[in-house]
Structure formats: structure tokens, C-alpha cells
């Protein structure tokens, strides 16, 4: 059966590359984001380059009261929706996030909004007894660091949420995959100092689609981040708290 995939936060570089990787395999897509002009441009690009069927609709992760109606409109387009990729996120600014207004925006954009929309997706897939949920978390969620701990805590919470969801939906045959990208060459990281081993969005997009064909539940992209983060998690807290990370 032809895949139909909902991409939430479809205008980011990783989302665009993931959509392209799905489209090149013949999947149909529903792109969702706040930016209508970008949605229009990206969907025509995917249609023309890959001959894919692409729909789009406006979606704001922070506007949780609109999520139910949004999800119903997706299901009306694709009653046999195969899965969802949650790609929205907001890095924000750590120093600004020491003020609650920015911190709340980071938490809502990365976590509360995800809990809201994935709840509707999970209930739907559970009742269908089929489907997949791919959530893009972050290696930043593996350990709190002074440089981005508000963002990191929201992504870490998302990872825990996905873990619980995986446990709940396993019995219904619904896959839940947690993606933890390392540094990726996106607008979020462009020009940031101190980056290393930066991956292209295309390699992450292909990695996400490939993860669906494998059995790993928590996927680090590129793969070596699993070991980098293993080492970082192993540093004792009494040492870690003294480090400038």
C-alpha cells in the first residue's frame, strides 16, 4: 500500500529532507507548518521533483486548542494515514530563556505542543492498530548543559514521552521511533561556534526513512552520536557540573 505521511513542522531543513526522502520512495505527504508561503513552495517542489502527491495545511504547535480540528482535516485527506514525523522544534536563546517568557515558548514549542498533537495521532493509530510515529528529539536532551538546558530539558521530556508512548502502543502494532540528531547543518546551527561532525539535513532525512525499516527504537543520527552521548552521560555529575559545556 502507498504510504501517506504527515510531517509536522514541515519547513525546517530536516523536515524538508525527510519529506524528500519519503517522496522519492513514492510516499504521499501532508505538510504542516505555520508558514503558508513556504508550504506552497515546498509542496510544489516535492510534487515536481518526485511526482509525489502532496497536501499541506496550517499548523501551529503552540496553538494546542486547534490540534484536534487540524488532525481531523489531515485524516479527511488521508483516511489511511501511515504515519507521522514530528519535526517541529525551537532552539530559542538560552540567555533569553533565563526569563520565563522565552523559556515557556521553548517548552511549548518543543514539548507541550508535541504532547498535544501526538496524543491525537496516537489515539488514531491505536484504533487503526497500524501506523508509525517518528519524533525528532535531540542529543541535547540526553544531559542538561548550561548552554541550552531549557531546550535540552524540553527535548529530553519529549524523549521520555515517546518512550512511554512506545510502551503503550507496542501492543497495537504501532511503531514509535525516537530520532536524536547530533549537529545538523540547518538554520538553527548555521554560524554557531564550536560545532563538529556536522551532518547534512539530507543524510538525516534518509536516516529517518531508513529507521522505519529497522528495529531500533531510539536512533542517533549520524550513528556515532550514540557513543559520544554514552561517554557524556557517563561523566560523574560532580565533575560535569564544573565543565563548561
Amino acid at each position: 500500500m502507498k504510504k501517506a505521511v504527515l510531517i509536522l513542522g514541515a519547513t525546517s531543513a530536516i523536515a524538508r529532507a525527510t519529506a524528500a526522502a519519503f517522496a522519492s520512495q513514492g510516499a504521499s505527504l501532508y505538510l504542516a507548518s505555520r508558514d503558508e508561503e513556504e508550504l506552497r513552495r515546498i509542496s510544489s517542489d516535492l510534487q515536481l521533483r518526485y511526482g509525489a502527491e502532496v497536501h499541506y495545511g496550517l499548523f501551529d504547535a503552540k496553538a494546542t486548542d486547534t490540534h484536534e480540528a487540524f488532525f481531523l482535516s489531515v485524516i479527511s485527506v488521508f483516511p489511511d494515514l501511515s504515519g507521522v514525523v514530528l519535526a517541529f522544534g525551537y532552539l530559542g536563546d538560552q540567555s533569553a530563556a533565563q526569563d520565563f517568557k522565552e523559556a515557556a515558548k521553548i517548552v511549548t514549542s518543543n514539548y507541550t505542543g508535541a504532547v498535544s498533537i501526538l496524543g491525537y495521532c496516537a489515539n488514531h493509530f491505536e484504533s487503526q492498530r497500524a501506523g508509525f510515529i517518528v519524533g525528532i528529539a535531540s542529543v541535547a536532551g540526553d544531559r542538561g548543559r548550561q548552554s541550552n538546558y531549557v531546550y535540552g530539558s524540553a527535548k529530553g521530556a519529549l524523549s521520555l514521552y515517546l518512550q512511554g508512548l512506545r510502551n503503550r502502543l507496542h501492543a497495537s502494532g504501532v511503531r514509535v521511533i525516537t530520532i536524536k540528531p547530533g549537529f545538523v547543518d540547518t538554520a538553527m546551527t548555521f554560524g554557531l561556534p564550536g560545532l563538529f561532525l556536522v551532518a547534512s539535513p539530507q543524510s538525516i532525512g534518509k536516516g529517518i526513512v531508513a529507521a522505519l525499516g529497522k528495529s531500533t527504537d531510539v536512533v542517533y543520527l549520524p550513528w556515532f552520536w550514540r557513543y559520544i552521548m554514552l561517554i557524556i552521560r557517563c561523566i560523574p555529575e560532580f565533575i560535569f557540573k564544573r565543565m563548561k559545556l
Partner: protein
């Protein structure tokens, strides 16, 4: 590569600005620029200072550099927006490259109306440099095949222009080196093809006179023509070369075993800078003689895949590293028809006298001049030389070549240039006065500015 992190002001285009040292394809000059890389179309606009759009950075010199100013990378604004398969009309964002367009259009029986010698260039760059291909004598330059463009002005407003609509702005932007605004979208008219194969004919010529004759004869009428010149040959062999002509094979011409012509592409990469001595007069001379002898024996037409025909150097990633870490200058000039033979001969003699090797030397015929006010092509013959930078002496030689070009009424191509003087530029580009009027009306604050424009004092009254 040094880089430094600076935070943006109130109107960020990207979250951060990357301050780093960049260069064009010739790797000379290298300059500190502030890079921004928008991912949304709405962010394709000037930020807080003077700016030049940079697509793939494939212009050779300083056209896509803006020392201490902003360079706006357009590579992520590269969406394909429309493709009318029946009419062959394609509309895309200016950051899309020809390499991305080809796999979409060729299977549907269409081809680019004009292509330069690399497919790793953006549509915006093709318009800004008004690029030409091996078919200029037949089809003109890139700007002649554009249905329309969307230009983003200094205040962020979007304006459509075309040969029919706001044509002055259009012809100031075609060949205008990005100095009228940021090219946002480009719509082009494609050409129909029967196959992805090119029927090629090579003919050897023992000296420049024979080469000119060959290219003026029936071979020169083919859709694509170009000649490789052995720039190391001197005396009675001065200007010896291979005239190469070709056209898209039509159905009657298609070889029976055409599948064997489909490339199993090997891609090579130059992983490090070659030492400066690798390409010397001896090694180039030896290579040229062997190449000339090999190609002279190839008397019959043959079929070539479009990729290996149009983009032979694209198969070697980062071939610019062959010239060593000091980089190289590509000197491309055109000499008008009536003075062409004398001018090209004088240039080649000056070059061989200097004993400076040009690894790749190419001669092409150009058709009538187009309407782009700062466009390079004019009716005549164009010579392109790749010259590695060894010492300052090269720049003295190039100044001498400029004098010869000026004496013969020709001009130097800005997309390749890194060192022309403002005086020579004004003498070579009589359309500049008209261009300046448009520039001053559309960008009165000279927001769109590049290292090239400041070096040539372009945009200043």
C-alpha cells in the same frame, strides 16, 4: 578558515551570521565576509548592511564576495515551483542549480536552452552573469531564454520583470552581477530534445588560421561549437587545436546500441591542493601534445552523453585544487569579429612569450550581442585561459592582455574576473552609462554591492 560568531540585530535572516573567509571558484582572492543563509523565500532580502547574493560561488573571482559586508547564500532557496511539460516552461527559485534541474527535465524530453561548462551553478547566477554556452552563435545567452524573473529590491519588495515587463530593469539585471537586487525566482523556456545524446565531431587544426577556418566552415554551423587550443604551441603551430562541434542527436541519428552510451559515471575528487609545480610548462606541454595527437586521429562523429559532453570537469569534484593553494585566474575575453584573428593571435603570442602555461584554453565563436547592458558576449571570438597564480608577474601579463583586448575593441568577462581596472572596465563596457541610470533609480543607496563592484567602481556615479 577562521570563523567568528556574531549575533544578529533585530531582523535576523538566519539565526546567526557566519563571519568567515571565502573565495570564488578560482580561489583568488580570499576575503572575510559575513554569511547569511536563508531557508525561507521571505528571508531572501537585504539585512542590516550592504549585500551581494551568492549562489554556488562558481564565478571565478570576486563577483560573489563582499569583503566585510554580507554575502547572502541562496543555496537553500532552491525550490522547483512550476514545470509545464507540454510547453517546456520551468519556474524555480534562484538557488536551484542546473544539476538539480537536468534530472527533472531530460527524461521529459527537454533541455536547458543555454548551459555553461558546469552544471553546479544556480539559476540566479546564470541570470546575473548572463552566461553563455557553446551555442551562443545559434541561441544567444541565458537572458534571451528567460520568460521572467522576480527581483527582490533593497527594501525587501518583490518586483517582476522580463523582456516585456519593466524591460530596462530586466536588461540591467541580466549580466548585472547581482547589483540591482536579489534574484528570487527565474522562469525559463526549455528546448525540446529527442535524446540525451550529443552527436559530436572533432576536427584537428594545425595552427590558428586553420582553426578559424574550421570553425567558420560547415562545422561551425552546428548547434554547439567550441575549440580546445594548445596554448603551449608556438611558432608555426601557434593556436593549433581541436574544433569540437555537436548537436542533440535526433531520432534518425540515434545509434542502435545507445544504451552503451549511457554513463556509468565514476566520480573523482581532488582531495588536496596540488603542489604549485604539478602543472608546469613541461607537464602541460606534454599533456597538450598527447591530447592533440589522440584527438587528431578521431576523424568520425561519435555519440556522447550530455553529462560528459557539457560538463566534463564536473566529474572531478574540486578540480580547482589542481592549481595549488594560491589559486588561479581564468582570463576570458572576447574580440569583435573584424579584429578577431589578429587579436586572438596577439593574445596567444603574448601568452607563449611569457612561458606561463594555461592548462585549459578554449576558443569559441559568439553570435550577435544581446540586450543585457553589462552582458559579456558580443559578436566575435572568445578566448578563455586558466592561469595558475605563481607570482605577481601574472597580473602584469594580464594587464598587457587587457591592452591587447582594448586595442581590438573587445572586453573581459566579469564572472571570471578578479583583477580588471575600473578604467579598463569602463572602456570595455559602453552599456555602463545606461546601466548606472537603472541602478541609481532602483538601488539609490547602493545596498547591493560586492568586492567586484567596489574594485571596478561600479554603482558609483
Amino acid at each position: 578558515m577562521r570563523s567568528q560568531f556574531i549575533s544578529t540585530g533585530d531582523f535576523p535572516i538566519s539565526t546567526h551570521i557566519l563571519k568567515t573567509s571565502i573565495s570564488g571558484w578560482g580561489r583568488y582572492p580570499e576575503q572575510m565576509c559575513k554569511l547569511e543563509r536563508p531557508e525561507r523565500y521571505a528571508d531572501l532580502r537585504p539585512g542590516s548592511g550592504n549585500v551581494i547574493a551568492r549562489g554556488q560561488g562558481r564565478s571565478y573571482g570576486d563577483a560573489s564576495l563582499n569583503e566585510d559586508g554580507f554575502a547572502l547564500l541562496t543555496e537553500r532557496v532552491n525550490r522547483l515551483l512550476e514545470f509545464d511539460v507540454a510547453k517546456g516552461i520551468l519556474r524555480a527559485e534562484a538557488g536551484m542549480t542546473l544539476a538539480e534541474i537536468l534530472p527533472v527535465i531530460v527524461p521529459k524530453g527537454w533541455f536547458l536552452p543555454i548551459t555553461p561548462g558546469t552544471k553546479f551553478v544556480s539559476l540566479g547566477g546564470c541570470v546575473a552573469a548572463d552566461v553563455h554556452g557553446k551555442n551562443h552563435h545559434h541561441d544567444g545567452s541565458f537572458g534571451d531564454h528567460v520568460v521572467g524573473i522576480e527581483l527582490i529590491l533593497f527594501d525587501g519588495s518583490r518586483v517582476s520583470c522580463s523582456p516585456l515587463e519593466k524591460s530596462e530593469l530586466y536588461w540591467a539585471t541580466v549580466g548585472g552581477m547581482g547589483l540591482t537586487g536579489i534574484i528570487g525566482e527565474v522562469t525559463i523556456k526549455l528546448i525540446p530534445i529527442d535524446s540525451a545524446l550529443i552527436k559530436v565531431q572533432h576536427k584537428a587544426a594545425g595552427n590558428l588560421e586553420q582553426l578559424f577556418k574550421l570553425m567558420q566552415g560547415p562545422n561551425g554551423d552546428d548547434r554547439y561549437t567550441v575549440a580546445w587550443i594548445d596554448s603551449m604551441a608556438s611558432g608555426s603551430r601557434l593556436g593549433r587545436g581541436i574544433a569540437m562541434s555537436g548537436h542533440h542527436a535526433n531520432i534518425e541519428e540515434m545509434p542502435v546500441n545507445f544504451h552503451s552510451h549511457v554513463n556509468n559515471k565514476r566520480s573523482l575528487s581532488i582531495p588536496f591542493d596540488f603542489p604549485a609545480f604539478a602543472l608546469n610548462s613541461w607537464s602541460i606541454s606534454t599533456f597538450n601534445t598527447r591530447y592533440f595527437q589522440k584527438e587528431s586521429g578521431r576523424a568520425y562523429p561519435f555519440f556522447s552523453n550530455y553529462d560528459s559532453y557539457f560538463y566534463p570537469l564536473d566529474a572531478i569534484a574540486q578540480w580547482n585544487r589542481l592549481y595549488g593553494k594560491r589559486g588561479f585566474v581564468q582570463y576570458q575575453c572576447v574580440i569583435p569579429e573584424q579584429n578577431a584573428f589578429d587579436g586572438i593571435k596577439a593574445l596567444l603570442m603574448k601568452l607563449t612569450d611569457s612561458r606561463r602555461p594555461s592548462f585549459l584554453s578554449v576558443l569559441k565563436r559568439l553570435g550577435p550581442q544581446g540586450k543585457g547592458m553589462l552582458s559579456f558576449p558580443m559578436e566575435g571570438w572568445t578566448l578563455a585561459l586558466d592561469l595558475p597564480i605563481r607570482d605577481e608577474g601574472l597580473f602584469m601579463l594580464l594587464n598587457k592582455l587587457d591592452e591587447i583586448v582594448l586595442q581590438h575593441g573587445g572586453r573581459v568577462y566579469l564572472a571570471k574576473d578578479a583583477r580588471l581596472s575600473p578604467e579598463s572596465f569602463r572602456a570595455m563596457y559602453p552599456g555602463y552609462e545606461d546601466w548606472l541610470k537603472v541602478k541609481q533609480s532602483v538601488d539609490p543607496g547602493n545596498v547591493f554591492s560586492s568586492s567586484l563592484s567596489r574594485r571596478l567602481k561600479v554603482g558609483e556615479a
